[in-house]
Symmetry: C5
Subunit: 326 residues, 5 copies
């Protein structure tokens, strides 16, 4: 699906009279006036993508990658254009889950083609914000690359913040006095963290190269901005590592908690057993059939026996209570 395609010049969107799908004409218009075309595709069909590829002369392998998605983040440099793949992440509150999408960018001197798979918020937002900041958009395709990267990385930060909250919840649950079953929750979080890691870590290399200004297709003036993106990326990566480590420790604490719980239970059970077993012994004694057992003939012998049992049980109860077993 083609989502939006437009020509930009001097920092603002230009109304072009050719149909929205004649990319070659759009490109010619843009190039002639020193502007650029930005074509936005969403999970395009093979045909749609082929048309765009022809108009902008995109590399066969890159087009295939953009079509298939399921790439790892990467930067591919061709003669005068680049191919950049980013993973998008967003947090679905209802399911406490991290979902992933993908954005592929083809960037040349007079065009940007974005191919999106999955959730689209980030790209819309980036385009909208850009169209309102002419002095940024004026830097051409590089500005688009920056806007997209910045927006995607902001998304990482949001996801990482949500994960942080989840970890805080797990932590609270692990150390709560209630019996909780946290291992599935911890496992899921670890799985999501590994997904975040796979989106975040490989992106650092491309961002670093943009920040060093060594990628020809990217305007060197943008270096501080990409450095900023790199910083956010690194911070997200560091927090994610920290969360992973904390989860491991929380898991061990959870295991320790189970053991402590089991020990407490065992003590409680034993104490309870003792309270029943000792009177049973007493009952057994007065159930013996000796000819001469003076208590048996006592007037309140039975009462005495019951009181004895109750007393012993009470003493045991008190003893175990005091030693913390009950």
């Amino acid at each position: 699906m083609i989502v939006d395609s437009a020509v930009y010049r001097d920092g603002s969107r230009v109304q072009v009279d050719c149909g929205g799908h004649d990319y070659a004409a759009m490109r010619k218009t843009a190039a002639a006036e020193g502007g650029f075309v930005w074509v936005g595709l969403h999970e395009p069909s093979h045909q749609e993508l082929a048309g765009v590829a022809r108009a902008f002369d995109l590399h066969r392998l890159a087009v295939e990658d953009a079509f298939n998605a399921h790439q790892r983040p990467k930067l591919e440099q061709y003669e005068d254009s680049i191919f950049l793949v980013l993973k998008t992440l967003w947090y679905v509150d209802e399911e406490d889950a991290v979902e992933t999408g993908e954005i592929a960018l083809f960037v040349g001197p007079d065009f940007v083609v974005t191919v999106r798979h999955g959730h689209g918020g980030r790209l819309h937002e980036a385009r909208a914000r850009l169209e309102h900041t002419a002095h940024v958009l004026d830097h051409g395709p590089s500005a688009v690359v920056y806007a997209v990267c910045d927006s995607v990385v902001d998304g990482y930060t949001e996801v990482v913040d949500s994960l942080q909250e989840d970890v805080d919840e797990v932590e609270a649950s692990v150390f709560s006095p209630q019996r909780t079953n946290d291992s599935a929750r911890i496992y899921t979080l670890k799985r999501e963290i590994s997904e975040v890691r796979r989106a975040v870590l490989p992106l650092r290399e491309p961002m670093r190269r943009f920040a060093q200004g060594t990628v020809e297709a990217i305007d060197g003036d943008g270096a501080p901005f990409f450095r900023d993106v790199t910083d956010h990326l690194t911070q997200a990566a560091e927090i994610v590592e920290t969360l992973d480590t904390l989860l491991s420790t929380a898991f061990e604490a959870y295991l320790a908690g189970i053991s402590v719980q089991q020990n407490d239970d065992m003590r409680k059970i034993s104490a309870g057993a003792a309270i029943v077993v000792v009177p049973t012994l007493i009952a057994g004694i007065y159930g013996m059939n000796f000819d001469r057992m003076p208590e048996l003939a006592w007037r309140f012998g039975y009462g005495y026996a019951l009181v004895l049992m109750a007393t012993v049980s009470g003493l045991l109860w008190w003893f175990f209570k005091r030693s913390g077993w009950l």
Copy 2:
């Protein structure tokens, strides 16, 4: 065994009149016409390999390695030829197991010799696909190297996907309420993952060198294609690492599950014991031999005692049920 040997020129297979085993003649023909010979061997005898080695002037040590198999993936550069070893991986569904084979390639300006150990699907496929894409085959031996590497690495991706499914199954089993014995399964998966890792990781270096175009025997034009192979390789490696980590976490969750299970069992057992032991005490009491025990003379004393026992047991059952012990 010699599987297939042919001369290729201008991107297509050439019918040569010399017998399929006169390599020197084939090579001469190929060289004269600007083509190349591709000899395919499968677990060759010492003699077969020696003949080929003589015809193409292969290095003694490399020939030995190709014969012995059990090499680690590597790239060996000689004056004007290279020796490349790849591990092939395939997943045997019936046994949920990963099996490994080996392909050794000798590549010179006018020849390719492939020596295969184990399963052959990948090589057949690569040759067949190449023979149908003249514009690729036209690049000579480099195209063969690319086709083989691409096909082998595609195999890794398939194996990794199967392992991912296995890990998903293990995960489901670990967190299922049933008692399952997952530790052997997890161990086996970890063992297979380490096998995959040993095939995948050492291959990255050769692929990177091909992708940088610094290996003389490999056509520089193929760089983006080898970069693509490298990407797939890296992705396979990353997923395998993630799976390994997840398995470790799943194992810990499995251990935690056993502990929780044991604790639950202990509570159930204790509750059950209490339900039997307390009536036993009551029976003991009415088995005492005191002269004066009024209940004994009651008309429905016996019934009363039985009802008392049942009531106490019932109360205990209800109590333990409510506190989650039963």
Copy 3:
């Protein structure tokens, strides 16, 4: 809030007649006399910061970072100025907790702007100490950077020392014979250590660059001093790593302690049960209804039975005591 702003020249504070908020004028005065301005802000409003940014021509992104805080430690180099972010750490005794703040420094040839978030002791101290050591202050803005870094890193050392004490306490608790619940404590310490790590580790790179004298805005003469700061930083980092490792080991020892405890309890419980159960068997035996049971008719049969029970229990008690079960 503007905390303090002053002009310094030849190593001492200069009384300037323009109001404390006309930064442009202060800067002009300072520049004219070969001195520099030091403006100290504490959690400034957007407006306050914007005024300062205008006067000293600070980079937009850096100003944003200084305003938002929550940056990771970093060094950003612009044409003739630098932007440095440091994390401050301090230990709150009452809560046994590490708290973090942030100091951002903008440093140019004739100005230093410090923006502080959180606790301020370190900056006050640095300024006070500097104003008393003219020969240091004389080196201009570099001296301020050194003083701030040195003071902040001293703070790390203090925090690390406090953590070391906490770890010693945990260690004592884990190996004490009392039953203690150390897992929450260990978890909290690990969490704090990861916070310290995130403040300390990323600062090493900027300090190393100052120490190598490759940052233009920082006087090369200060290299040995920054090397000293780097040393303290590295030492803090090393100790923190050691503590982390020790905590992991202490945690495992804690787990082992629980197991040992459980085993001891189980033995104690079993021994106790045996002491009750064996007399119960004896009572049961003499409760049997056989016609001819000679002991039943003994004069002191009952007494004999009680003594028998007591003796058996005593023997069991002695036996279990001797084998260490009780």
Copy 4:
């Protein structure tokens, strides 16, 4: 002890008329004829070694190292000679243990001195094989270095294979249904693996330098051969790492096995207890002394009670059997 010393020229052993101990004379002979001397020592006395050191002008520190043994593998380069230390490994089947020895080589343009500590098979073999392959021996001292390294590294491969078998055995034992005590076995294997690692890993650096042909004393023509040795070394190192990881996983599986076993035992015990305790309750009931208990007067009351007990026990047995507790 001097084991063997000989002069080699043009790839074969030369009969020299001076006594086997006049090294200076041997060296002169060898140098004059373009050959080299190979002196083989086994745990030499201080005096023996001093004599050799004088004749070949060996570096004091290297001689000390060769005498003391207990060095780590290393390569020391002097002006025109090198000093190489290798660890030898062999597997003692009777004890399932890895033993280590040491070979020190002094290599100059016209001599090789080998000092061996421990088991000697590898060196004998290397010399014997060399004396039968004139075209290799013809390359002078470099050939000796290659032959020794190759032989020693072959030994690593054998040891690693034996360890692999041991790990397979441990694995089988861990996952066998029998109760086995595998922890000591796993510990020993881990200890041996760490010994292998300490022999293998530090050797990679010297071998890599030989393979790059940057060590003057080693003939550059031998590079592919040393590359081959490096490959085997790397493969041994990789397998050893894999084994170490597998052992860790096997250990965890062993721990899990103990827990599962304990849980199974607990269930079995509880089921057994229930089968005894419930009939005891019944016996207790019919041991009560109520005046009116109709069953007591039944003709087959006793039989009925016994049958009741047996039935209840049987039902419990069947119930526990069905639920997998027995």
Copy 5:
């Protein structure tokens, strides 16, 4: 405290007539005759150190470091002098503990100042040995640096050997059939190992630089000697890493041992309980009050019951013995 100060020339100690505390004079004498001064201080007062610093023109920060101690090992290079900090380690047998001290060296072309904190054996030894080997001492201050480093690193080796013995003891204890409480011991050893690591690892960098001969103040001829020190350092580091890993494994084996022990105990306890509980059931049966229980009237009914109980108990005992539960 000034321990010893002397002028050395041509490899031997020179008697100087100025008092032992006039360092400036000593330095002049030494410099004039091409010798050097070696001043040895032990935990000097501020004043003592200041005097020495003035005489030899030592850097302010380095002097502070030498005074405070608690530095990490490091090498600081100044114009024509260096500042080296070493940690000394020694093993206190009575306490099975590793203790640490510190030696700081200031080395210039005509002087060496050593500042020692803690145990002094190593420095005395180094000076004594040097004064007896004129050909070494003749190399001037570099010889002193070598002698001190060599001696300190020898100390590391000794400590590491003692730790190795401790680990062997722990290992024996863990795998002994006795119940032992090894976790505190293992923890302490791990703590000591981390102390050794912090002394050993940071020293490798300075030693490597000395060994490469790139430190101006250190005579390039000493390179092989410093290479030797580096080797010993690396070996100590490697052994310490191995010990750390082994201790971790030993700890896990200890945990496994506790679990196995607990399982064994549980089985023993259950078997014991069964031996008592089954006869109790029998006693209960013959305690029932049925009118017609033929055994009750038997002549040897009581004896028969006792024999029955004993037989059943005996059979149970034999059964549990055979199945390994007792």
